[in-house]
Amino acid sequence: MLATMNDIQEGYGFEIVRRQDFSDVTYLLEVRHPLMAKAARPGQFVIVMSHENGERIPLTIADFDRAAGTVTLVVQAVGKTTREMQQTCQAGAHLHALVGPMGIPTHIGDARKVVCVGGGLGVAPIYPQARAFKEDGAYVIGILGFRNKDLVFWEDKFRACCDEVILCTDDGSAGMKGFVSDGIKQAIAAHSDIDEVIAIGPPVMMKACAETTRPHGIKTMVSLNPIMVDGTGMCGGCRVKLGDQVKFACVDGPDFDGHLVDFDDMTRRLRRYKEEETAAMTRWSETCRMESPQTTL
């Protein structure tokens, strides 16, 4: 795919061309960036600043459309930044900054039978990988986990690119009742020749997936999401432990061997800014309440 200076001139501006809401906490943004759409590969992420005073937050590239020149992000509103973006990031709006694709692309290797596991929001970023494995001729089993049927999204997209899809919900309101790790057990029981499992989701979920496959010795890759600042390897904030090694998720990852990752260490480090995050969230929701006319009703 040729990169040209034209892309550079056109490509910047970061216009949101489409916005779609999956639920009251999950939304999709399709952003124009032709050069990034050309460069993006499965497993990579971007860093976004929604406005000038904003925070740099990492988001996985959930899809890219080279012809349309767009990349797709799927965001879960969890704190100040992602909730504020839920309000401000409408079609036609522009992001202040968007840099990427970052991270080492997922190695779409010679695995002939793979299980792609997405938990909750992790369903979005696992999609380009599932599609890439399929295009590469592998047998792809998609396992999607959600809390309940109202949160389910992209089931159709996965059905289109997977040979099998196992849908799991915590309460059994759609698909099988259980966690994605139960889905993995079911897949392992049905297929003795799985080459690789790839899991993306919250740390507890990825840890559970790694523990499920460990006794079977199946290679299990996870995509880690520690707190990041620059995303270029400069700050060390995103460091994670793999056995006795320290790696920077933004430039050495984000994909790592799930059997080596110290998930407890990572989970602890994700809580680093808890106090500040809560303070920011409280302050922000208070100002929203004051400014928003509806809430006075």
Binding site: N53, T232, G233, C235
Partner: protein
Amino acid sequence: MAKKRTVRTIPQQRTPVREQDPRERATNFAEVNCGYSEAEALLESQRCLFCADPVCIAGCPVGINIPDFIERIGAKDFRGAYDAIGRTNLLPAVCGRVCPQETQCEGECTVGDSLEPVAIGRLERFVGDRAIAEGWANLPHIEPAGRRVGIVGSGPAGMACAADMAKAGCDVTVFEAFHEPGGVLRYGIPDFRLPNEVIDAEIANLRRLGVKFQCNTLVGRLFTIAQMIDEMGFDAVFIGTGAGYPAMLGIPGDSLNGVLSANELLTRCNLMRARDFPAYDTPIPLGRHVAVVGAGNTAMDAMRVSLRLGAQNVTCVYRRSKAECPARAEETHHAEQEGVVFKWLTAPLEILGDDKGNVRGMRCITMMLGEPDKSGRARPVPVAGSEHEIDCDQVVFAIGTNANPVIGQTSRLRLDKRGYIETDADLATSMAGVFAGGDIVTGAATVIEAMGAGRKAARNMKAYLGIREPGCDLAAATIFGIQASERNFARILSA
């Protein structure tokens, strides 16, 4: 010139510079050193002897004609002084502030043999600030050369290379990964040492030369170096991506919450403006008792930023003694004045955590100086039985950096053993048309050295592109191993 000056006739005291009061400044981010007034600059200019053999010049990595610019200051020809500096240094307001003058120009100054040396840095800054205030810029007549040059990284190396190539008529685009240009000047060095307005002014000057800046561009990942040459139509590329990748402590407890690199602390504070949280969204960990490991410029910045963010006490833990401390003398001095406690000859052994995984202290050991090591400095060796604990709730490490891997991962450039980009003496890399310089070639160094590298690369890039101009150093011994004498006629002979 009237009577010849001698060490005896010049003002004996170095003209002091006004500084913010230590107690007051330790709570704000305004600049500490207020700079010379015109009268002070004139007075200090009287201290230069205009030596027949101006040894100061040799101490300056870019060889500024120091007596020349000082003489012009004395004659109140400030514009002339600016032009004199501008022939070799594009960023006088920056270098005057951040150069380690005591080991460079001022370290060599003859006056320094018997008195305090001429305050070359402060004079240079005076000229640089005057230029910014007056809006001076060296904007030569530029003849388009029909060549396109891509610069990767907007730190001092990239800025210097960009300026020279733009002056040589090239169409220059600088690509920067961050959302704002400036490199370490922007994200690392805090405002109280180098205000953002100075960097903004220098970037604006580059823009006036026609340099384009494309921020939010991670080269290597958005497009590769090879693509720049093969597809995007750049005739030459300069890589000045700096030495990111902070070295880890590698001691138990180094992933506890409250342990972070100076780069992370400084980037959050300076670039992301976390010091103004919550007006800005980025949070910053606020330690009450902060221990900083290391004693270079980065460590000093981390300590002084921590004080300004409200730390009650800040301790510097350094395994060598004050004599080996690599920071600029002024910074160590300022840090002491502001109340940083220095624990020289102390090395960390372990960071201690509480049951929530937060830092509660650090176990250290006292060192003594032994035989010289490879670097020629005395090797610190632990004193048996001297283990002790210091109380702290935050540990910041500033113990050096490694090479950033992104360009290496995404190109076929030859790297050295430690992962830095390998170049020849002309700063040419193993890829034709691709040059590199600054920290990504030498490892962490100084602003002026990075700038010097950018300019040197520019000179050789011009030769590579066949751009001839006055001052273009076609006499460089070899380019790509081709001798200067045979350069225009070089034939590649098949073996």
